[in-house]
Subunit: 419 residues, 2 copies
Amino acid sequence: MASPKGKALVAQSGGPTAVINASAAGVIQSALADPDTFTGVYGALNGILGVLNEELYDLAAEDPAEIERLRRSPSSLLGSCRHKLKGLDVSRADYERILEVFRAHDVRYFFYIGGNDSMDTAAKLGRLAEEIDYELICVGVPKTIDNDLAFTDHCPGYGSVAKFNATAVMEAGLDTLALYTHDTCTVHEVMGRNAGWIAAATGLARRHEDDAPHIILLPEVPLVVEKFVDDVQRCLKDYKRCFVACGEGVKTPDGEYLGEAGGAFSKDSFGHTQLGGAANTVRAIIEERVGVKARTNRAGTAQRVARHFASATDAAEAYMVGQAAVQAAVDGVHGKMVTLVRAGGGEYKCTTGLVELEKVANGEKLVPAKFIDANGTGVTDAFRSYAGPLVQGEAELEIGSDGLPVYARLVQQLVEKRT
Amino acid sequence: MASPKGKALVAQSGGPTAVINASAAGVIQSALADPDTFTGVYGALNGILGVLNEELYDLAAEDPAEIERLRRSPSSLLGSCRHKLKGLDVSRADYERILEVFRAHDVRYFFYIGGNDSMDTAAKLGRLAEEIDYELICVGVPKTIDNDLAFTDHCPGYGSVAKFNATAVMEAGLDTLALYTHDTCTVHEVMGRNAGWIAAATGLARRHEDDAPHIILLPEVPLVVEKFVDDVQRCLKDYKRCFVACGEGVKTPDGEYLGEAGGAFSKDSFGHTQLGGAANTVRAIIEERVGVKARTNRAGTAQRVARHFASATDAAEAYMVGQAAVQAAVDGVHGKMVTLVRAGGGEYKCTTGLVELEKVANGEKLVPAKFIDANGTGVTDAFRSYAGPLVQGEAELEIGSDGLPVYARLVQQLVEKRT
C-alpha cells in the first residue's frame, strides 16, 4: 500500500538495554529527515502506558544534540513499561483507546522497540486498525538482551550484555584465582529467565582451559545436584578453584526455578520468591555438599545497561534496525519486524530483513544443543563463532569533565492532550 | 643505613583491586632495572602463605612483555591470601619461618602490597629481623579499594572502584528511571565493610538532583528505619522512583550489621550470616514499610577488579607507589609505607611520601563528617573535590582479537626449595 502522510510515534517497552536508545535514535533521526512522509515524530512516555495515558512528547522539540547523544546512551530513555496487553477479546478497550489517541494526534506510524510481547501488541493493534479502517503502519524494532527472539539471527542488546558479562566474568575469575585459598568458589549470576544466551556468552571469556567460567549453568540444561557436585569437585581438583556462571533461570529437573528451590534463603521477607536467587541456591549447594566457601556476584540491572563497555557492533546494528524500520515504513511495509540477517561466508557481515510480527510474537529461541558442550556446562566452538562477532569493538563513549560517562537527558515536554 | 645487596621479594595480600598489579609492576620493573642492588626479584605465591610454604618464583624468568601487561591487569596476579599473622608473642614461629625462607634465598628486601594487616605483618617482620640481626628492608605499598588507610591522602585501588561503581549506579539509575512504573526502587550494594568511601563515590554520578543515587547509605551513618522510610517516601514523591546506593557494612543504631539484622533471608543455608546481605535487608524494609517493589544489584567481587573501566589516575598512581617503594628501599628507608600526598592548590597533583608501618597498621580512616551531607544520605562538594580527581581518565586497556580485554598470565614456575 502507499504510505500515508502523518505522524510517527516511537515507543520502547520491557527491560532496558545498553543500545535500545540507539534504535530509537535511528528511528527518530530517519523520520525527522523525511518530513514529506512524517508530519511529526512523537515519543510515548513509558511505552504503551504513555499512549494509553496520552502522555506524548514531540521529539522534534528536543535538542538534536541530545538525540545524537541518545545513540550512545543506555537504558530506555524514551521511558519504558512492563504493561502487557492481552488479546483483542479481553483488552479490546485498551487497543481502541490507543487508536483513539493515535487518531487524535494523527499518528499513522507506530514504531515499537521491544521483544515478543511488544511485537504481539503491535500486531494486534495493526489488526484492529485495519478492522476499523484506520490507516496505520506498525513496524517492530527488535530489542532484548535475552536474545530469544525467533526469526532474527540475534537481537540488538545481546552483544553488549554479552561483552560486559564475559568481561566481568574474566575479571572476577582472576579475583577467584588470586584468592582461591580463602574464597574458593564464586557463583556469578547473569540475567536470562528462559534462555541461556547471556550465561553462554560468559564462555567467551574462557580462552584457556583454566580460565573462568569453569562451569556454565544454562536454563536449557536442568541442574542435577549430584552431577553438579561432581563437576565442582573435579574442577577443584584440576584448578584448585571453581568459577560458576549461572543463568538466573536455571531449573531443577522438575522444571522448578533454582531460585525458588533453595529454601528460606531464596525468599524475601514476605515469603515471596525472588527470581535472581539462583546463585544463592548454587552457593548453598557448594557450601553444603562440597564443603568449600562460595561467594556470589549479581550485577542485576547494571549488567543490561552497561553502556560504558558496550559492543560497537551491537550499537551500530541497533541504530541500523531503527533506520531500517523507518525505511520499511516509507516503503509501505506494515505489520512486520526488522530482523538481523547474518551473511554467509568467512567474515561477519550483517544486514536487515523483515518478518511478520505475529511470527515473532509467538516464537522463542533457546540456546540450541549444538552450542552446548557434551557435559552441558560449557559452550562449543560453534557458539563462539556465532557470538564472537557480536561483542566486537568498543562502542563510542562520551566522557564528561568529571571522568564519568555523559548520557542523554531528554526534556520530554508533554504535548497537549486531545482526548 | 646502607642498602644491602640481595634479592627482592614482592607479595600481594588481601582483596584484589583493578590496579594492585600496576603497583607490583612498578616494584618489579624498578627492581629488575637495578641489578647492582637487587640480585634477583622473586614473587611469593599467594602472599605471605607463599613465603611460609616457600612457594616462590623468579620474576626475571617471566616474559618482560607479561610484566608490562601486568601493569594493565586486574586482580592480584602474583597470588593473594587472607592469612593474618598475629602478634610476635603468638605467631613468632611464623615470623621466624618467614625469615628462615628469606635467609635461605638471600631475600634482603620485602615489598608488601596490601592494607592495614599487611603493614602490620611487615612491621613485625622487620622488628624480628632487627632482633635477630638479619639485614632486611621492609617497605609497604598501599592498596585497598576501601580507601581506609590512614596517613595517605587516598589508596591505590579506590579511584578505579569509585569510577566503576559511580558509572554502574549512573547506568542502573537510568534503568530505574525507564521502568519506575514497575520496578520503582533499586538498592545497589557496594563494598566497604567499615568505611563508606565506595558508597560515597557513587554520589559522583549525581550531576542533577533527580539523578541516582537519591539515597546513599554509609556505614558511618547508622540506619534508622523510620527516617529511612521517610527519605524513600519523599524521594518517591519528588522523582517517582528511588535509587539507593548501599554500603555492605551499613549498621543499625545498635551497631549490628544490616546484613545480619534482616531476618532469615540474610542467612545462608547453614544459618550463617553473609555480609553482603545489606541490600536484601534494605529491600525488605522498602517493600514492607513503603509498599513498593524494590530490586537489588550486587556486583560483588566484579566491582573491585573492573579493570575494563578503571581510572587512569589510579592506575598511574598505583604504578608510582610501586616505583617509589623500590626507590625508598635503595635509599635505605626501612619499616615504612609509601603514601600518596596531594599537593595543595587548584589543580590536582599527587606525589609520594613515607610513613611508619606501625602507624598505618593501627590506623583506620572513615569518611569524615565534612564529606557527608546534612541529611546523612548524600555527599558534599568537599567530597566531590576530594574524590573527583581520583576517577579521572580511562586507564589504557588492551583488547584482544576476540573483542575482550587481554590480561597478563604469569608462568610462576616455583624455584627449588632450600629449606
